[in-house]
């Protein structure tokens, strides 16, 4: 939010806004998804842009909503209108606002960046966060061997198939460790929770943060899953 305001946007969070409905959508519950989507479409009526700090939510709004209303032209048109106004945060900062609008922050450390699946493959978020991070003073980025491979979160997948999910996140954690980074960044909350949980269980010292925290100069707050300081 700080990032957006710094860039000159007026930011509002509609009080009726909740989840985008992806858990229902990916569980095959189309009726519930449509009900939630209608609610979200109402909530964001009238805004110039809808910005999500999570690739999977952004992807849901901009790629999947219109297909939910194939039998309802009026709703489909509204869903398409919303889709056109929906953005993932990093892509909004760079592709819509222009990266110069983001004030330079400072973060002392070596980071590695995980490409979240929806952000990367549905929304084409790849270069944008790297360009923004490039402007952060004190930060150097060490890439993983396969930053674009799924971390094993997958929404309900990680509790329905915990063994497979664990194998995937273990591999991710090894890839992270091999970079020597002290901070793991990503742009999707599900991935962040999953990887943070694994790293902590393994006793890793790697701190896990949303990429926006670093860009907003909020790197002094406790990282995800880290105890409060003092």
């Amino acid at each position: 939010m700080k990032l957006l305001e710094q860039a000159g946007c007026t930011v509002e969070v509609p009080p009726v806004q909740v989840c985008c409905g992806q858990p229902a959508y990916n569980s095959g519950d189309r009726a519930t998804t449509r009900a939630i989507a209608s609610q979200v479409i109402d909530a964001f009526e009238g805004y110039d842009a809808v910005v999500a700090p999570s690739g999977s939510c952004g992807g849901m709004l901009s790629h999947h909503y219109p297909g939910l209303f194939d039998d309802d032209p009026a709703m489909k048109a509204r869903a398409e209108n919303l889709a056109g106004r929906s953005h993932e945060l990093m892509s909004f900062l760079v592709d819509v606002l222009g990266e110069k609008k983001v004030a330079a922050a400072r973060y002392d450390g070596v980071a590695t960046y995980h490409d979240s699946c929806s952000g990367l493959r549905e929304l084409g978020v790849k270069e944008q966060p790297r360009r923004l991070l490039d402007s952060v003073q004190g930060l150097s980025l060490h890439e993983m061997k396969t930053p674009e491979v799924c971390c094993g979160f997958g929404g309900t997948f990680c509790v329905k198939y915990p063994e497979i999910s664990n194998a995937m996140v273990s591999e991710k954690s090894a890839d992270i460790a091999a970079t020597g980074a002290d901070t793991l960044l990503a742009g999707d909350l599900g991935c962040l929770m999953n990887m943070a949980g694994k790293l902590q269980r393994e006793g890793s010292a790697v701190r896990v943060r949303h990429v926006a925290e670093v860009l907003a100069g909020m790197g002094d707050l406790p990282a995800i899953g880290e105890p409060e300081r003092g």
């Binding site: 939010m1 969070v13 009080p15 009726v16 806004q17 909740v18 989840c19 409905g21 858990p23 229902a24 959508y25 990916n26 569980s27 095959g28 519950d29 189309r30 519930t32 009900a35 939630i36 609610q39 699946c117 929806s118 493959r121 549905e122 674009e148 491979v149 799924c150 094993g152 979160f153 997958g154 929404g155 309900t156 997948f157 990680c158 509790v159 329905k160 198939y161 915990p162 063994e163 497979i164 999910s165 664990n166 194998a167 995937m168 996140v169 591999e171 929770m193 999953n194 943070a196 949980g197 694994k198 902590q200 269980r201 707050l221 406790p222 995800i224 899953g225 880290e226 105890p227 409060e228």
Partner: protein
């Protein structure tokens, strides 16, 4: 082949505990995807070719009856035969009768996933006809009595040492009683043993990568040359292919060939791409005197015109499984039937029933890597989601998931309540976990906390609460 797709979770446990398999998978994940990436980069037109490949397949599917009839007409015109098999049982019967008509005792087989689909080997063996797999990988797993674990690399789950043991066990009676240690020696021994079997076989049975309607040709792509020996040396050549393998013209084949090898193995071209058209001509010096094509439907015609139709574009390159992190974790056998990985998660429920294979379309994170590499751009995650919708409609979704989802959706549709409860939960979680920043066990979240901690909420309350606070301050200011 008997499906064990219903036992997916048990299969997964076995797979994760198999160190040989895990070694092979580690190699596969890096090797195949890196080679594909390089091959795609070497051909600037690759993405445009993928678009065209998709369009060719869509055009063919929209006119499938026409192209099948055209293909049949051309085959018959050159003295070949076409047999139509609505079901797996029909295909087995037709092939067995053809083998019996020439008194066949052995059949040289080139790797065919459709033959696995219809469980042809078991059927022929019961009739006293010996099928001999000639693709090296298929030969190895035939000796070991295992199903394939990958559609283009059937023995990818095995190590060299396991192959060496298998060869020693089965070849010692042929006089090969030394246990081999080098890969090239293993390949050479298999070549020697199989060469005699090619020369002795009465029937050669192959699949087809494509059937070309324009010329009535079956097209086969291999690296070993085993399919070519199978379709050249025996007196009868039987092609077993499913109906969606037909394409209109040779020009269309050129497009599909350019994306097939690159997607499959990252090769510029497979070593052998062969067009067979009819039986040998009167003046030819070799080739089979009989040419039969068995066209298998087995439920595919019913997929046309449905939301699942896109899966019929599949050209069986294996790129989706090579790039799938779930396949990469558990390998092909876990999927429990012929077709593993993302394409299998879509096709298997169609062919063996969604009740039997209900886990497969659910065991995906929808990471989308499969779709991003599919040479014919099949939206595999979308098709898996369609299966989940059908399962939900049929009440096959597990009860726990349904109930959790129902509670969550009740709340998600009531914003004030949702925010109120998440805010309370947030505070409760924070109260107990803030000191450590995480939880190593949480009620109702065993699947999560068995393998990882659950991060405690960062300080400051929920996003909505923070927003409210911020807005309040702003208004006061």
């Amino acid at each position: 082949m008997e499906s064990t797709a219903h036992a997916f979770k048990t299969n997964v446990d076995h797979a994760l505990a198999d160190p040989n398999l895990q070694d092979s998978l580690a190699k596969l994940k890096v090797g195949f995807s890196e080679r594909r990436r390089q091959a795609a980069e070497r051909l600037p037109e690759f993405e445009a070719l993928r678009d065209r490949a998709r369009d060719i397949k869509n055009h063919t599917l929209a006119n499938l009856d026409f192209y099948l009839e055209e293909f049949e007409r051309k085959v018959i015109g050159l003295g070949g035969h076409v047999h139509w098999a609505p079901t797996a049982a029909d295909a087995r019967r037709i092939i067995a009768e053809l083998c019996q008509s020439v008194g066949a005792r052995t059949v040289a087989k080139s790797k065919s996933m459709v033959a696995e689909e219809i469980a042809l080997n078991e059927h022929l063996e019961a009739l006293g006809i010996a099928p001999i797999e000639t693709d090296l990988g298929e030969y190895i797993i035939q000796l070991r009595n295992e199903p394939p674990s990958h559609i283009i690399a059937p023995a990818v789950h095995l190590t060299k040492d396991q192959v060496a043991d298998t060869f020693l066990e089965h070849h010692s009676k042929l006089g090969f009683d030394k246990r081999l240690t080098e890969r090239n020696d293993l390949v050479a021994e298999a070549r020697y043993v199989l060469r005699q079997k090619f020369l002795d076989a009465d029937v050669g049975l192959t699949g087809a990568n494509f059937l070309v309607a324009e010329t009535g040709s079956s097209m086969l792509v291999t690296n070993e040359g085993n399919a070519d020996l199978s379709n050249t040396l025996p007196k009868m050549h039987i092609v077993l292919a499913s109906i969606e393998k037909v394409i209109p013209t040779l020009e269309d084949a050129a497009v599909l060939l350019r994306v097939l090898a690159r997607s499959a193995t990252g090769q510029e071209s497979s070593a052998y791409t062969t067009l067979n058209t009819g039986p040998k001509r009167a003046e030819d010096l070799d080739g089979p005197s009989q040419y039969h094509v068995v066209l298998l439907d087995n439920g595919r015609s019913g997929v046309l015109g449905t939301e699942m139709q896109d899966i019929l574009r599949c050209i069986r390159c294996g790129a989706c499984m090579n790039h799938c992190p779930v396949y990469g974790a558990v390998g092909g056998h876990a999927y429990g039937w012929v077709y593993p990985g993302p394409m299998g998660a879509v096709l298997t429920p169609q062919l063996v029933g969604v009740e039997e294979a209900s886990n497969l379309p659910n065991a995906s994170t929808f990471c989308g890597r499969c779709e991003s590499v599919c040479p014919v751009r099949i939206p595999l995650p979308k098709l898996m989601r369609h299966w989940r919708e059908r399962e939900f409609e049929k009440h096959l979704t597990p009860r726990g998931v349904r109930q959790g989802l129902a509670l969550w959706s009740f709340l998600a549709r009531r914003p004030a309540l949702y925010r109120g409860l998440t805010s309370i939960a947030n505070r409760v979680l924070a109260l107990f976990g803030r000191a450590d920043g995480r939880y190593s066990a949480l009620p109702l979240a065993g699947g999560w906390t068995r393998f990882r901690d659950f991060p405690a909420p960062q300080p400051g309350g929920t996003f909505h609460a923070q927003w409210k606070g911020k807005e309040g301050k702003r208004k006061r200011a």
